[in-house]
Amino acid sequence: MEAFIPAAPLFVVFIGAIIGVAMEGAVPRLHRPTIQSWWTALVIVAALGWTAVDWNRGQGTLSAKASLAIDGPTWAAWVLLLFFGLLSLLLFADHRVGGGESPFVASASAVPASQAERDAIAARQEQTEVYPLLLFSLTGMMSFIAANDMITMFVSLEIFSFPLYILASLARRRRLLSQEAALKYFLLGALSSALFLYGLALLYGFSGSFFLRDIDSSITSGAGSEPLLLAGMGLVSVGILFKLGAVPFHNWVPDVYTGSPTPVTGFMAICTKLAAAVGLLRILYVALGAMRWDWQLYVAVIAVLTMLAGGLIGLMQTDVKRLMAYSSIAHAGFILTGVVGATTVISGLAEGRIGSVASVLFYLAAYGLPTLGTFAIIALVRRSGAESSGFDAWAGLGRRRPVLGVAMTIFLLSMAGMPLTGGLIAKIMVFAAAWQGHYQWLVVVAVVASLVTAGFYFRVIWVLFGEAPSEQTAVVQPGAGTWTVIWTGIIGTFVLGVCPGPLLEVLNNAAVFLR
């Protein structure tokens, strides 16, 4: 039992989710939205606090028969994950934006536009299951981040994916689009899981163990068959790159991002990416660290494709939400740029210097803040009640609502990597990691891709301020939750841009994986 204590925050979230499910039956329907959202917030805050205390105290241990590595990167990623989860929850729970209605469907089982649905709306029903689903998803992500063996990793992957498939289908408006998105996500997700599973079977065949460190020692000792290893490595990475949204495994991203309820899109955009990125780091650095020379070029090529495809296709978009999907693909590429360098203490990084792990974690922090802020604003722009994210609907938004316009501009500038925002420092960090790993050419390509993405971010800024305001569009008043997300985004973006030192220091102290 004692071996599970270091993983306590994970179980806090998990048990919180189970109690949330139980409350669905126990709490009267009228009170459910309030109680569920507060309960979820409480659970996340408790887990966040527990993690912070542990992190502050601990040296890091292997927990649950070495299946979970509770180490620096785990704690850092958990804190970020729970923080962004909490912000997402604020968007989940904001009823004001929808004119008193939840952003989620009244009754998921009712056929769209049927009498049953109209009755459900009239009865002010709502699917409060989204809150426990959020917690289940967070549970999966947390254990994925900490997973120290391939089986745990696979199970975690499934735990965090299934709630997302359901959440994606629950949009209140444009339900068919949402259901289509969910189905697409599910089918492609299932395929990628299958590939991951196949890959881990091959890796097991290679090393005779599921543990990452055993795979590592098999590689170092030179036993086992190399084709098995290479095939396994490729298939496993495909599974994770799919979740990360890297090209050529990105096809689901635009449709799923557009179709899902906007708060869910925001949650997926940062939390899924965070979990996938840290999982990828752990597999590549811990299990396959000795194979560095083989996978670096492969990941670099993926990074190039991802950045350029995300950027170039993004240039052609005329819908803000879809554009953000391509933006998130491009950012997956920048994250991979940091991964490629593999500058760690093991590869000869001097003590105290910022390496790949810290730079990727910093990038995720600096990317998450403006991303959630952007999706918070996307939910506000509406045409006859439904969200409207076309450029025509967004025209002149900044002139009608200067505060929201300026906020959106700050988020876009940060994602474009402009100065005084976290985005620039984050880019410098991942580029420096790649450079120090002798991937100078990748930095050059990444800079070209930055320019391309800046092209579409500044096009949105032009739409916000340069064009005449659109008459048919209403910009609804944000509720307190949405405001909190927007202001956290603004302040966080500036803090990370102007004095990134403290966060860098903290992340850098937590950058070594336990084996």
Binding site: R353, M418, I428, F431, V444, F458, A468
Partner: protein, 508 residues
Amino acid sequence: MENIPMLTILGLLPLVGALVAFGVKGRAGRNVAFGFSLLTFAVGFAVFHMSLHSDLAQTVDWIPQIGAHYALSVDGMARAMVLLTVILTPLVLAFEWNNDTPHLAAHKTPRWDVNVFGALALLVEGFALFVFMSADVLLFYLFFEGSLIPLFLMIVGWGGEKRRGAALKFLLFSLAGGLVMLVALIGVYAATSAAGNPTFLVSEIAAIEIDPRLARWLFAGFFFAFAVKAPMVPVHTWLPDTAEQATPGTSTMLVGVLDKIGTFGMIKFCLGLFGEASQWASQLVIIVAVVSIFYGAFMAITSKNLLRLVAYTSVSHFGFMVLGIFAFTITSIAGSIFYMLAHGFSSAAMFFVVGFLVNRRGSAEISDFGGVQRLAPVLAGTFLVSGLATLGLPGTANFAGEFSIMVGAFRVIPVMVFVSVIATVLAGLYVLWAYQRVFTGEPTEEVREKITDDLGGRERAIIGVLIFLLLFFGFIPRFGASVSEKTATATMSQLGIDDPVNGSIGGK
């Protein structure tokens, strides 16, 4: 006085002013912005004087993990640029005093509030001041790139009908330059990391031996960014488009202040950090500079639009500055720095007089004018004086700069200098021919209808200040040369080149 962070105050003052001006709506906000620009001028002038006698530099750790510092200092060249910036900004705000009135319409497009213009101009000023004062490469980069954003918004908010394309072109060109520099910046970080401690501090980077092959690449990265900024052929194409679409006030902030960062950076970073690489590249750079000189002059002659004409003259003049810098003599580098100051004033004067014309006529096409001299003699006179200053007539500041570049460079690259002297003749052509077509002859009906008044009091005051400055620095060049020579000497000693010319601006 030693403990007061004067440089920080100087840089922050306009930024604070910008925030206030954003908040105060309408013309009251404009007045606030103007007030802050005057206050900044006072502080800037004080800094200009104090830095002569005492060292105002300050250095604080900023991001210790990567060796970035919040480090400010002013040397001779930075002093000149600070002076230029704090003088031009209030003039620009005074020029755009009524830019919310609809009759100022080459611009039929909707415009934003006038207080926002003031705020954005102050942002540009504050960022530019920080750029000139930075003693840390990352800090420099931060404000260098940051200044693009307010300027982009100034083009979007007050530009002509094709402002979208112009704004995006400006932004993407500048950003391309900036991002290439970012690569070089990361290279510097990696190189200093490898040499011991990572640092971005200019003085520490200069002390480190960087592998010559890498240094050349890094030099190229920095130089590309500065060549885009100080528009050199062939990466200049954004400037004429931008100048045509933006208001003259915006263009003055851009050409008068921000573009100087290009030549400023070449001296401070290209020569200062990568001396060997600079010499290695100098021949190519000089050829490109001469091409810029001629291309700019020819394009100015053939321009049908006054704003484009002024933009192209700047391309030509920046060519002279770059020529002076890469000739590697004290006299020519000092001349370039002096010319940067002079060109700031002369280009502002040209943009303003053209702006006066455009505001009246509602068009900048040369063919829309003719015979204006009869209707507005003072306007015509100021155009002529500004134009003559631009072409470098003896007695104006530009002459002192140009002459010093030529004298300095002649010993080193006589052929190139000889060739570029021809361009000064072309300068006479584009200025005087434009004057002839716009001001002489019989005014047409339409011109009579539109141009009804001569320069008003505000307009006379603005252009008067600039003409005074041009003549002042023209007749007493020692005043500015004392500033520029210090930097030139320091740069040369860092390069480790013996000066082939003995002489200075005053000693001709």
